[in-house]
């Protein structure tokens, strides 16, 4: 399988008053055609920033892509002109944003907002675009009669459906969904996820699903990337990651997921806080919180190493232990 997306050494900084926020710092990530990748990390890890980087939509100022490559379909997106990027956005790569409540223009009817996307990338007349917009609405489970309504007339779940309709309107190759369900309540979450799963199949798009929720990843994704302080620290297919996580941070994440079978009073959480992105710790950014940290960890930044085919982790000690068959 060829890689549709190959991010190499991506570094994105925000310049703020207190200094430079190292939102993404030397991030590597690959995604094969037709795959879906779960992109997991604590708040502030840099997930949204990575996604906006792929779209080349980092707000500037304060943000700037400092270095790296984003190879999409064999071409580096960072070399593209703004006009070339406009052709890619929406048509090749579409994005669903974090908060459906604020993602739609409040003074524009939803059919117009969907039709805008269609008109931009397909050679159709205005009325055809509006008709296609109605089709898209039906596809995401909203009755066509509602197409002339304004966003405020919809519930949160319906708004997210509209946002999904916009994103899929031009049949993108890659869909980036940034926590598409966190802002919704639980029952609606399940419905929206089901819809996304279904549509992903139907449109045979690749997908990056950003989330905090390892349960959602287990349900939808093929691959998982764990992000910590601007870098990917573990990357594997879902099965191997869930059966034997390697990186201490990933293992900590799994320990903090509540297990219904076990009766515990308190969840073991990872001690300590996310590092301050303005002053990232030297060496392995996780070392202040890592129970296995050695002096070496504070000095050298660990690179990703392959522990078993397709399973990478950025912790040389754990990878070695794993390969020697020792318990982690």
């Amino acid at each position: 399988m060829d890689n549709m997306l190959d991010i190499r050494n991506l570094t994105i900084h925000y310049e703020v008053e207190s200094g430079t926020v190292h939102a993404v710092e030397g991030l590597n990530l690959t995604l094969g055609r037709g795959e879906s990748l779960g992109f997991v990390g604590e708040t502030g890890a840099g997930k949204t920033t990575t996604a906006l980087g792929i779209m080349r939509l980092i707000p500037n100022p304060p943000g700037k892509i400092k270095s790296g490559e984003i190879i999409f379909d064999g071409e580096n997106l960072l070399d593209k002109s703004e006009a070339e990027m406009r052709k890619i956005r929406g048509e090749k790569i579409a994005m669903i944003f974090q908060d459906p409540m604020t993602s739609l223009n409040p003074v524009m009817t939803v059919d117009k907002q969907i039709a805008e996307m269609i008109s931009l990338h397909k050679k159709v007349t205005k009325s055809e675009a509006l008709k296609l917009a109605g089709d898209m609405l039906e596809l995401v489970g909203i009755r066509r009669e509602r197409m002339h309504d304004y966003p405020h007339q919809f519930s949160g779940g319906m708004k997210q459906r509209v946002v999904i309709a916009i994103a899929l309107a031009c049949d993108p190759e890659l869909l980036i969904a940034d926590e598409p369900t966190t802002a919704l309540d639980v029952t609606i979450q399940a419905q929206v996820l089901e819809l996304m799963k279904e549509l992903k199949q139907k449109f045979s798009a690749s997908m990056i699903l950003i989330t905090h929720d390892l349960g959602i990843v287990a349900e939808i994704c093929d691959k998982v990337a764990i992000m910590y302080a601007g870098r990917v620290v573990e990357y594997a297919d879902k099965r191997s990651l869930y059966s034997h996580p390697i990186h201490p941070y990933t293992r900590g994440l799994f320990r903090s997921v509540p297990d219904i079978d076990e009766d515990v009073d308190e969840l073991p959480v990872i001690p300590g806080l996310m590092p301050d992105p303005v002053n990232l710790p030297s060496g392995c950014a996780f070392h202040p919180r890592c129970s296995m940290a050695t002096e070496e960890c504070a000095k050298v930044r660990p690179e990703m190493q392959e522990a078993e085919p397709g399973h990478f982790a950025a912790c040389p000690f754990c990878v070695k232990k794993f390969m020697n068959g020792e318990a982690l």
Binding site: M85, K87, R89, G90, P106, V107, M108
Partner: protein, 309 residues
């Protein structure tokens, strides 16, 4: 919608009655005998008594007020000016077109200059353009209109002799007063457009529009602007209402025969019916402009429109 408009108009009635009552009371208790004001110091006591009887000045307070309101509603008669002896309504209606023209020009200038400047300032925040615009807006806001008016006259009328300093009959003569009157509104519209635009261009739906691959000009000109203008429309409406009722200084400086100057003269000569009528008239215009603004507001913001249904 129609029901809403009707309700708003009905709601105007107590407001206007209240205004009328306040003005009437205030002037009723102001020292000085209107009869003497009209007839002059040399009038005989008989003449004064006769005038007071004829004008109903000896009636109890509430009766006088009731008569006043009744005549206003039934005949559109809000009294007769003591000094010119002509009906107040007629005086106001002669003066009003000047005020309306002056205010409209000032408002158009404010919109034409303020909105584009505000937009550019916002999308180029902290640029030299933004800095200079904000400095000018600050000056425009803090400069008293009489001072600016005099400066304009000194420079353009006295020194350069490009434009006349008074009269309001030709287009050329309207330029200086309109600019002087517009200065504060330009500043306010610019600042409001800028801050509203700054807020909107950070909004998520603007990012959504960009993520569709939309051109920056349309992202700003359509998606952002339409949302950013909502508070600006309110401001413009309120400003216009204020210009209509408060161009007193500008009208005096540039000798524009509008409502403002009429009022100043009326106050100076204790022309009670004129003052009363003028204040009432201003209250009515202000209320109508406000109503129009609210309707416009509902028109551009579907969320408000929905609430009105």
């Amino acid at each position: 919608m129609l029901k809403y408009i009707l309700r708003r108009i009905i709601m105007l009635i107590p407001v206007l009655l209240g205004v009328a009552f306040c003005v009437f009371t205030l002037l009723y208790f102001t020292p000085g005998d209107p009869a003497r004001m009209v007839l002059g110091d040399l009038a005989t006591d008989e003449a004064i008594k006769e005038f007071r009887d004829k004008e109903g000045l000896n009636d109890p307070f509430l009766v006088q007020f009731g008569n006043y309101i009744w005549k206003a509603v039934a005949h559109g008669d809000i009294g007769r000016s003591y000094s010119s002896k002509r009906p107040v309504m007629q005086e106001i209606l002669t003066a009003f077109p000047y005020t309306l023209k002056l205010s409209a020009f000032a408002m158009i200038i404010a919109i034409i200059i303020g909105i584009p400047c505000g937009i550019i300032s916002a999308i180029k925040q902290y640029s030299w353009f933004d800095t200079i615009t904000m400095i000018f807006a600050m000056i425009g806001l803090s400069m008293p209109v009489f001072w600016l008016g005099l400066l304009l006259i000194l420079f353009f009328a006295v020194r350069l002799r490009w434009l006349p300093s008074s009269g309001f009959s030709t287009f050329k003569a309207m330029i200086l007063p309109s600019v002087a009157l517009a200065a504060q509104s330009i500043s306010m519209v610019t600042r409001m457009t800028r801050s509203s635009m700054l807020e909107v261009i950070r909004a998520d739906y603007i990012r959504t529009a960009r993520a569709k691959g939309q051109k920056e000009s349309i992202v700003i000109g359509v998606h952002a602007l339409r949302n950013a203008l909502i508070p600006v429309v309110t401001l413009c409406g309120l400003q216009f209402g204020q210009l209509l009722s408060g161009a007193i200084l500008t009208e005096s400086i540039f000798a524009v025969p509008g409502v403002g100057r009429l009022m100043v003269n009326a106050i100076m000569s204790r022309d009670y019916p004129m003052v009363q009528g003028g204040v009432l008239f201003i209250a009515v215009t202000f209320s109508i402009v406000n109503l129009l603004v609210d309707l416009l507001y509902a028109y551009i913001d579907p969320r408000i429109k929905a609430e009105l249904k």
